[in-house]
């Protein structure tokens, strides 16, 4: 094997491992954050017992999930029942691979981009992988051989397919503005300021409606309140994961939060200017600040997620479909046409 291929493989493996580590930690602490924030919104404390501020709670949860008895009900369709959570988690984790979290930095003469791989169709790759994510949910619902699960699975697949269209169309506006599928180039197109102080992010650059559509569609894609019908616990017990327990359940759980993080990263890259922000200070600071801005924006987006969860009730199934097809889809189409006209001018 030639040397540069070897280097490529080694660097990729290292980066994948690091990304996976960071992502899983982020997933764990997003759960913690959600419990804490929703707790405070609801006059509770959230986790406090394990570690300071309950910071070790995710570890405790993980141990609990690992040590719990892994039940497989007798009437399930076993191969898919086992495969479904794996599919969910694999697709959720894969999509993070093309997300850049900052500028490249240099080790010697080698530029190390802060992402696993920089492909020039990065955005399409994410869309493709997330569109596969529906299989985990749908097959879990079907293979559980449980009526509630089946309804959850049906709801999930219908919902995710429907909202994917709006999701894709809401992104096209940004693509037209940036003229590229590469996430790095999209972020670079958002550098600079209007009149010296308003950052040139897409959200301030005529894509506010696009951002709104993206937000709604993304909530629906990740099955979060107010679109959490596939797992609406008060109607469908737990929807598609009714029959799951222990680590298999934890996989769905991880997949949901990993998807949330992916969506938040994507929103940051596409609408909120990625890692752009004021850069100052010594050289080390200049390397770290973009990452900080990126993480801060992702955090804000996640916070909105949690905030909405603490506030809104849930749609009904027909209303959800009507909202997706009759409101969100025309709106994102209109946004797309308006953007195209504006850019062509």
């Amino acid at each position: 094997m030639p040397l540069d291929t070897l280097t490529f493989v080694i660097v990729s493996v290292i980066k994948s491992a690091i990304t996976l580590l960071i992502l899983l930690t982020a997933v764990a602490y997003t759960v913690w954050l959600e419990r804490k924030v929703v707790g405070h919104m609801q006059n509770r404390w959230g986790p406090t017992r394990v570690g300071p501020f309950g910071l070790l709670q995710p570890a405790a949860d993980g141990i609990k999930f690992l040590l719990k008895e892994d039940l497989t009900p007798p009437h399930v369709y076993k191969p898919l029942f086992i495969a479904a959570p794996m599919m969910a988690v694999i697709f959720a984790l894969t999509s993070i691979s093309v997300i850049p979290i900052g500028n490249s930095f240099w080790i010697g003469n080698h530029p190390i981009p802060l992402q696993i791989t920089d492909v020039n169709i990065g955005l399409l790759l994410i869309l493709g992988v997330t569109s596969m994510g529906v299989y985990g949910v749908a097959l879990a619902g079907w293979s559980s051989n449980n009526k509630y699960s089946l309804l959850g699975g049906l709801r999930a697949s219908a919902q995710m397919v429907s909202y994917e269209i709006s999701l894709g169309l809401s992104l096209v506006g940004v693509l037209i503005m940036a003229g590229s599928f590469s996430l790095r180039e999209i972020v670079d197109s958002q550098a600079g300021h209007f009149w010296g102080f308003i950052p040139r992010w897409n959200i301030f650059h005529g894509q506010i409606i696009g951002f709104f559509c993206y937000l709604m569609a993304a909530y629906a894609e990740t099955n979060r309140i107010p679109f959490d019908l596939p797992e609406a616990e008060t109607e469908l017990v737990a929807g598609y994961h009714t029959e799951y327990s222990a680590m298999k359940f934890a996989m769905f759980f991880m997949a949901e939060y990993a998807n949330m993080i992916t969506v938040a990263c994507l929103a940051t890259l596409l609408f909120l200017g990625g890692w752009h922000g004021p850069i100052f200070g010594p050289r080390l600071m200049q390397v770290l600040l973009p990452i900080f801005w990126f993480v801060a924006k992702v955090f804000v987006f996640l916070f909105i997620y949690i905030w909405v969860r603490g506030t809104l009730p849930r749609f009904r199934y027909d209303q959800l479909m009507a909202f997706g097809w009759k409101f969100l889809l025309p709106l994102s189409l209109a946004n797309l046409i308006a953007t195209a006209i504006a850019v062509a001018w």
């Binding site: 169709i121 493709g128 299989y135």
Partner: protein, 171 residues
């Protein structure tokens, strides 16, 4: 390297295709087909057709096959039933398929074995494809968009419940 990857993806595709035939439950067949499609997306990537690969995953695996799975779940399709005719079809069809593919392989390998493609041989980036699609192939593009519109309408009409049935339910 190229050959190894080609063979790996090819093996997945072949295994998926055979599994599609071998499985009796439609959901297993659907999953095998998804595997075939994902493997083909890999082949496209090897050929440098990145955009096609992405669209293959998004459209085929992410949309069309989800519809299939959805319908299988909706209709609660069970294991296939076999009739006398179908057994004959299997007896004749499988050897026929093997024979046919061996024949095709022999002819192809024999007569066009000279050409070869390199990894990433195509300039398959979205920009050039877009140029081609919206300039040279504009008319076919528009016609397909009309086609898909008609298909959508047809699907809506077909899948909506007949009026008589709906009235009968309002008791």
């Amino acid at each position: 390297m190229h050959l190894t990857l080609f063979l790996a993806f090819g093996a997945v595709a072949v295994a998926g295709a055979i599994n599609l035939l071998a499985q009796t439950h439609p959901i297993n067949s659907a999953l095998s087909l998804i595997a075939v499609m994902a493997a083909l997306a890999g082949e496209y990537l090897l050929l440098g057709a990145e955009f096609v690969a992405a669209v293959q995953v998004i459209v085929y695996a992410g949309a069309i096959m989800v519809l299939f799975v959805f319908v299988i779940m909706l209709l609660n399709a069970g294991v296939e039933e076999h009739t006398k005719g179908s057994r004959v079809a299997i007896l004749l069809g499988v050897p026929g398929m093997l024979l046919g593919s061996i024949l095709v392989a022999w002819v192809v390998l024999r007569h066009s074995g000279t050409g070869s493609v390199a990894i990433g041989a195509l300039p398959g980036d979205p920009r050039t494809i877009g140029q081609l699609l919206f300039h040279d192939f504009l008319l076919p593009f528009e016609i397909t968009s009309v086609l898909i519109l008609i298909a959508i309408m047809g699907a809506v009409v077909l899948a909506s419940k007949p009026q008589a049935v709906q009235k009968g339910r309002d008791h």
